[in-house]
Subunit: 441 residues, 4 copies
C-alpha cells in the first residue's frame, strides 16, 4: 500500500527499459539493469542512489525567493506524521525508478529536535520507519550522514566551532547517525563539512580549527571500529559555499589532511562534479587523483554550471563528461562500497511531480550510455594504447631504476651530460584523442 | 663605475627615505631601512629581492603582441656580451633601489645553450660574473632556480615528462643551478613546476607523473644534503597556467605531496599572491595555512587582478591586503631564510626606464607601510585579543582534553546528552574587526 | 518615544564624529556631515540611505542554513503589528546613524498579501505609517521599489513571464509602489529585474521577453509622467543570480536596451559594486561608463568578494576602491537625485544588535575618507593633468576635425601615407599613477 | 603543383566522407558536403573557413614558452618568400580538407612593414598571390581583416589610441585591407578590437575613446559604401584579453554601441564561443541575442575551457553545445554572408603536421553531426512546440494588445485588480526538455 505516493506522482507505471530508439521520455533508453557490463550487471556497476535532501526536503527556494514546490508533506502541523508521509513518497519514487539505493541526512528524514535528546528520539523513531521500508523494498541504504550545517548553532562550524560545546553537540549527532547507518545496513558513512571553514581570517584561528577537525574525524574513525561498522567514512570535498573557504577544499587537500592525521586507510572521498568545478578541477581530474592517491570512495553525481559561481546541482545529462569518469572508474574495477548518489536537484521552476521522475530518468540514462561507451573504449584500448606508448620510456630499465630510487641526481645528471641528451619532443596528439572519443559518443 | 646602467636609467640618484609627507614619487615615504620594527631593522624584515626575469628578461610581449620595451641588452649578436650588459643594468637597479637581495633563473642570467654541456658552460661563465658583482655590492642572492618550462623540450613537463631523457636533462640543469646557488651564497633554492601538470587526461598518466615528480624532488633533496646546501628548497604553488592543471595547485596540495614523500622537513613553500587568487584563495590564507602546516618559506610579492583569469603579476600597492599578510608573518617572528621577491612585472605599456624604478619604489613603500601597521596591531593585540576570547572555551580543561586525544566519541557525546547542551551562538563580529583594521590603515 | 528600538539596540547614543585619531569603533573618524567638500556639505554629497531589506527583513539565512538573527519583529502572529515594530526599529537606526535617507521594497515594509487587492491594502497601511515616521525624522526616502521576485508567481519572471497575467500582477504592484514613492517624497524609483532573465534557452523565447520587458518599462515611464513623478526611474544591472542570465547584465547592456526603446532620458542606472564585479567589471568602470553614456543615476554601495561567484553584499570598507569611484563622481559634480544606498548585509554570524550599527559606521567612514581624498586629488589635478597630457593630440586641429566628422577614411589614410607616419609609443605610466594614488590614501 | 605542401603534410589523400561507422580518424563520419539539410547542401550551410593566423602563423608559443611547431615557412631570411611558401601550405590544407572558405589578417599573410607604405606594398604583393591561388582553388575568401594589435605602436589601442597618428596609421591599414578583401571577393569584412580597451582607468579617458571608436567605425562604413563593398562589416565581441577591459565586451554591448552611432544596418557581429564564455554567456545566448537584436553576422567556431580564464581557442568537438547553436541558426534560415571560421588552434604540443588536419576533421564532423540533429529537432518541433505552448498567453488578444502599446499601466493594473488575478505558476520542465535533446544526440 503506497497510497500517498500514488496520489503524489499520479497514476504512473515504473520506468522501464525500452531501448535507444524509444522517444518516450519516461523510459530508459540505455539503462538496462541486467545487461552485463565489464563482468557485472549494469545496476551493480552504477549503484544509483536517490537522495532525500534535494528530492524530498528542499522546497524550491533560492536566495531571492521562497518555496515553489508546495510538497504536501511540507505542510502540516505534526512533524512526525509529515516525516512518515515523506518516507512513503520517497520509497514510491525508488520503486518507480527501480533504483538499488538511497541516502539521507538525519535532518532530511526526521524532524529536527531543539535539544539533543529530543533530536535523537526523533531520529530513532524514523529509523524504525526506514527499517521497515527497506525490508519491504529492493532499495537499500548507500549511506547516511548528519546535517551539521543548517541549524544556527553551527553557524561558525561544527567540529571547528570556537565553542567546544558545539563540537560535543555534533559528536552526539554523528554518533547517532553513524549507528543508525549501521543498523540500516548502510554501506558507507559520509561527512560533509558544510560549515567547516571560515568567512574571514580576522576572527579565525586556522591552525586550531585544523586540530579540532583532525581530532573529530579521528574520534569518528575510532568509534566506527568500536561498533564494528564495516564501510568506509567518506569526506566530501568542496572549496567554498556556504563558507568563503571550506577546509575540505578538494581531493588533494583532503588527502593532505588524512595523511597528516594518519587516516588514509579508514577515510575515502565522495566526489561531486559541481564541487570539482567550483575548485577549478574537472570531474575526471578529481576521480583520477583520488584513485592515484588511493582514497577513491564514492560519487555524488550531478552537474554544475561552469559559468555560475555557485553550486547548481543539476541532473547531469552530459554523456561526454560522464564517459571520461566511467572510463576512469572501470579502469580501476568500478565501485566497491560507493555508488552514484543523486546530489542533484530539479530546477525550482520544475514544480510538477513528474519533473522529479523525469530528471532521474534522464540522468540515469546518460550515465548508462556513458558506461557502455567507456566499456567499449576500454575493451578496444582506445585511450590505453596511445597512453602506454607515450610513457614507454619509463618502462625501460633506466626509467624503472630512476623511479625505484636506484639513481641519484648525480648519476642521472652525469648520464645526461655524458650522452649529450637532446630529447626530441613528441606530439601530445590531443585533437586526435579527442576525435577518437568523439566518434564513439 | 656603472656606466651602462647610468646610461640606461639616465642620471638618477639612489632612492631615499623622505617620510610620509613627501610627494616625490621616487622617494620612499615609509620604507626606512634602518627603522626598528618588532626587534629588527626594517630591511631585515622585508628582505626585498629584485628578480631578473620580469625586470630584465621579459620584453613586454603578451599573447596578442610582441616586444614593447626595446631593452638595449636584448638586441645584439653576442649573447654572452648581452648577458653581461644585462647584469650591469641589474646591479645598477639594485643600487638605485638599495635592496638587499636579488633572484634569478639560469635562463634569465645566461644564454640558453642548445645542448646541456653548452648550457652549463654558459651558466658557469655568468656565475663568475655574478660572483664578482655580488662581491662589489650590498645585494646578495635570495635564491636561484632553473627554468624548466620555456624550451620546447619541456612542453610536456620536466620531471613529469613522458620521456625519461627530459627528466635527465632537467636533473642536469637543476644540479647545476643548485650548485651555482650555493656558490653564490643563495639562501634558498626554488622549484617552480611550470610545466609539471597537464593539458588533458586523455594523454596523461597522472599517477605515474606523481611518482616521477616525487622521485625528482627526493633526488634534489638528497643532493642538497650531499653538497651541504643549508637553505631550504622552496616549491611555488600555482593552480594553472601554463598548464590547464598544475600539480603544485596550492599550499594544501603541496603539503599532501610533501607528506606523501616524507619531505616536509626539507621543502617549504614560496607563496605568490597572484597564484593564491588563481587558486581561489586569499593571499593571507595561503600564508596562514603554510604556517599552520609548518611549511612556510618565502613570498613572491605581487598582485593579480581578481577579475582576470590569468597571472598579471602586478606590483602590489594594496596596503590593506599586505597588512594582513605581514600581521601573519610578524606573529610567527618574520622571515628566516625567505624574503619578499618581486615576481612582478611592469605593464607592457610602461616603456620608460624610470617605470621600472617607480614600480619597485611604490610597492616597497606599500609593504613598509603595511609592516608598520601590522607591527602596531600586534603590539596592541588588535586582532589577537578578540581571537583569544573567541576560542577561550578550547583553553578550558575539557577542550584541552578533547584535543589531546583523551576523550572518545562516546565520552563527548554522552556528556552532550547528559548536560543537555544547547550551545548559544556568539557573534562573529566581522564588521567590527574590519573596522578595527580599517581605522589603522 | 522610540521605546522598541531602544530596547533593541540597547542604551546607545547617536554616533558622532570624533576625528581620525579616535579609536572608538562606534564613532565617525572621517564622516563629518557638515564639513564642506567641493562646495557642498559632506552629508549632501554622500547622501547615505539605509535600506530595509538587508538590514531589517533578511533573517540571516543562506542556501545551507536558516535564520540566525532572531529579530523580535520577525516572530509573532500579527504581521501588521510586526511591520510597525520593524518601522520603529528602522527609524531608530536611522536616528542613531544620523543618515539623511532610507529605501524600501513593498515586501520589506508591508506584509505580502496573497491577492493583489490585499497586498495593496497592506502597503497602503504601511505607507501611512512611514509617512508619519518621515514627518518626525530627518531621514527622507531616497527611493522605493517593488519586489517582483520572491513570490513563486514570479519564478519565471515578472514583466518577462510567459504568462501575461503575471505581467499584469506586476503592473499593479509597480503602479502602487511608484505612487507610494511619490507620496512619500521619494527622489527616485528603482526597478531591479530580479527574475527578468532565464535559466535555459530550451524553454525561453528571448526575443519575445525582450519585447515584454521593453513594453513594461515604457508603460512605467508613461505613468511616471502621467502622475507627475519628478525623479528618474533607475534600473539596477546585474549579470546573474538568481537567474543564470539576467537581462539587465551590466551598464552597457542596459544602455543598449534603453536606446532600443528610446528611454535614455527617463531611465538611468543604479550601480552596485557587487553586481559590477560579477559581470567582470570594476566598480569604477561601471560608474565611468554610465557617465560617459549619460545614464548615471545612483549607487548601491557594497562590496562583493571577487573570489566568490555570488552576491555577498558586504559593507565596503575599501578606501582605495571607493576613492576611484568618488573621484569619478566628483568630476561630474556628484549626485543629483541619487545617493549611496546600503545594499549591504552584515554577515550571518553578526548576530548582535550592535553589529548592524557597527557595519554602517565602518562603511560610512570609509566612504567619507575616500571622498576627502578624491576631493584633494581633483583639486590638485593628480590624475587629471597626466590624463590631459596623454590625449593632448586629440585637442589639436586634426584630432578635432576627425572626431567632428570632417575627415573621411581616405583623407586620414592618405595623410598617414603622405606623412609616412611612424607614431612613437609613449609610456602608459601605470605604476607611476598607482603610486600617486597610493601616497594619498 | 603543390610541391611544398605535399612535403609538409606528407603523402595524404584529401579527407573524404566515410559514414558514421568509420573508425578512420582522418575521414568525415558526418560531414557529407552534398547531403541536403533543410533545403541546402551541407557545405552551403556550414560554410567552413580555415583561418590563417592560428593555423599558419602561430608558432606554438604561450606566456611561459616559445615556439614548438617549427614550421618551415617561419624560418628563413626572405620574408616574402616565406609568405608565399605559407600560402602554398595553406591552400594545400584547404584542398585536403575540401573547405569552401578561408580568412586572414594582413599580418598573417604578408610580411609586416615598418612603415605604412612598405606595409601596404607587402600586402599588395601577397594579395596578388592570393588572387591567383583563389582562382585555382574551390576555396574562396569568407572575410579579411587587419591586425591592429600586435605591433607596439598599437599597445595603447588603434582607433582608441591617445595619439591621433596611430588612429591614422590604423585607418591606412584598414582601408587597404578592406579594399583587398573586396578585390579577393571576400563576403564580409571583420574588425576585432584587440587593443580597443584599457588596462586601468587611471590613464584612460573612456568617454573620449568611445567617441574615437565610434568615428573610426563610421568612417569605415562610409568607405565601404564609397567603394561598393557589398558585404557587412563584422565586429567581434570579446570581454577581456589582451586588455583588462575590451570595449566590444559582448553582443549586447556592441549592440548599444551600434545603436548609439546609428550603424546597426551596416555592422553585424562575429560571435566566438570562447569569447562568449569569457563574458559569462553561453555560446547559444550570444547567437540568440544577436538574432533577436537583428545583428547576427557570422561565427568564429572554437571552444574555450570554462575552468580557465583565458582564450584557449580549442577546436570544438562538443556536439551538445553545437546542436543548440545550429538549432538557433537553422530557425533563422542559416547563414547569409557569414560562415564558420575556425578561430581555433591546435594545442602547442600537437607538433606533427597531421595534427593540424586532424583537428579540423574532428571539429567539422562535430559541426556536421550537430547540424543534422538540429535539423531533425526543428522538423519535429522538439523544442518549438513546447515553447509555443509556454507563451501561448501572449498570443491572445490581451497579450497582443499589451505588446502593441495599446494598454497603459493603469489599464493593465486595473484589470489585474478587477479580475483579482492570482496567476498559477507552471512548470518550466527544464529536465524534460534536456532529456528530449539528450535522447537525440
Amino acid at each position: 500500500m503506497n497510497a500517498p505516493s500514488v496520489s503524489y506522482f499520479g497514476p504512473m507505471e515504473p520506468v522501464r527499459f525500452e531501448g535507444p530508439e524509444s522517444r518516450n521520455p519516461l523510459a530508459y533508453r540505455w539503462y538496462d539493469k541486467d545487461r552485463m557490463v565489464a563482468g557485472r550487471r549494469m545496476e551493480d556497476h552504477l549503484r544509483f542512489a536517490v537522495c532525500y535532501w534535494h528530492s524530498f526536503s528542499w522546497p524550491g527556494g533560492d536566495p531571492f525567493g521562497g518555496e515553489t514546490f508546495m510538497r504536501p508533506w511540507m505542510h502540516g502541523t505534526d512533524p512526525m506524521a509529515l516525516a512518515k508521509a515523506k518516507a512513503d513518497v520517497a520509497f514510491d519514487l525508488f520503486r518507480l525508478l527501480d533504483v538499488p539505493f538511497f541516502s539521507f541526512h538525519d535532518a532530511d528524514a526526521a524532524p529536527v529536535g531543539e535539544t539533543l535528546p529530543e533530536h535523537l528520539k526523533n531520529l530513532a523513531e524514523i529509523v524504525d520507519v526506514l527499517e521497515g521500508k527497506i525490508a519491504g523494498s529492493k532499495t537499500k541504504l548507500l549511506w547516511g550522514t548528519a546535517n551539521l550545517f543548517s541549524h544556527r548553532r553551527y553557524m561558525a562550524g561544527a567540529a571547528t566551532n570556537p565553542d567546544p560545546d558545539v563540537f560535543a553537540f555534533a559528536a552526539g549527532t554523528v554518533r547517532a547517525c553513524l549507528e543508525a547507518t549501521k543498523r540500516l545496513g548502510g554501506q558507507n558513512y559520509v561527512l560533509w563539512g558544510g560549515r567547516e571553514g571560515y568567512e574571514t581570517l580576522l576572527n579565525t584561528d586556522l591552525k586550531r580549527e585544523y586540530q579540532q577537525m583532525g581530532r573529530f574525524l579521528s574520534m569518528v574513525v575510532e568509534h566506527k571500529h568500536k561498533i564494528g561498522f564495516d564501510g568506509p567514512l567518506l569526506i566530501e570535498p568542496k572549496p567554498r559555499e556556504p563558507s568563503k573557504h571550506q577546509y575540505d577544499f578538494d581531493v588533494a587537500t583532503v588527502y593532505g589532511f588524512l595523511e597528516h592525521w594518519g587516516l588514509t586507510k579508514d577515510v575515502k572521498v565522495n566526489i561531486e562534479q559541481n564541487h570539482a568545478i567550483l575548485a577549478g578541477h574537472t570531474f575526471e581530474h578529481e576521480v583520477a587523483l583520488a584513485y592515484a592517491l588511493g582514497i577513491f570512495g564514492s560519487i555524488d553525481i550531478n552537474r554544475g554550471d561552469a559559468l555560475l559561481g555557485w553550486d547548481t546541482d543539476q541532473f547531469s545529462m552530459d554523456v561526454g563528461e560522464l564517459t571520461l569518469v566511467f572510463h576512469e572508474l572501470l579502469k580501476h574495477g568500478g565501485f566497491t562500497t560507493g555508488g552514484l548518489n543523486f546530489d542533484a536537484k530539479i530546477r525550482r521552476q520544475s514544480i510538477d511531480p513528474v519533473d522529479l521522475v523525469q530528471a532521474h530518468v534522464g540522468s540515469m540514462d546518460a550515465c548508462a550510455k556513458a558506461l557502455l561507451i567507456a566499456e567499449k573504449m576500454l575493451a578496444e584500448g582506445t585511450l590505453a594504447k596511445p597512453l602506454a606508448e607515450r610513457y614507454a620510456g619509463w618502462d625501460g630499465a633506466e626509467g624503472k631504476a630512476i623511479l625505484a630510487g636506484e639513481r641519484t641526481l648525480d648519476q642521472v645528471a652525469d648520464r645526461a651530460i655524458a650522452e649529450n641528451l637532446a630529447p626530441k619532443p613528441r606530439s601530445g596528439k590531443q585533437e586526435y584523442l579527442e576525435t577518437l572519443v568523439a566518434m564513439r559518443l
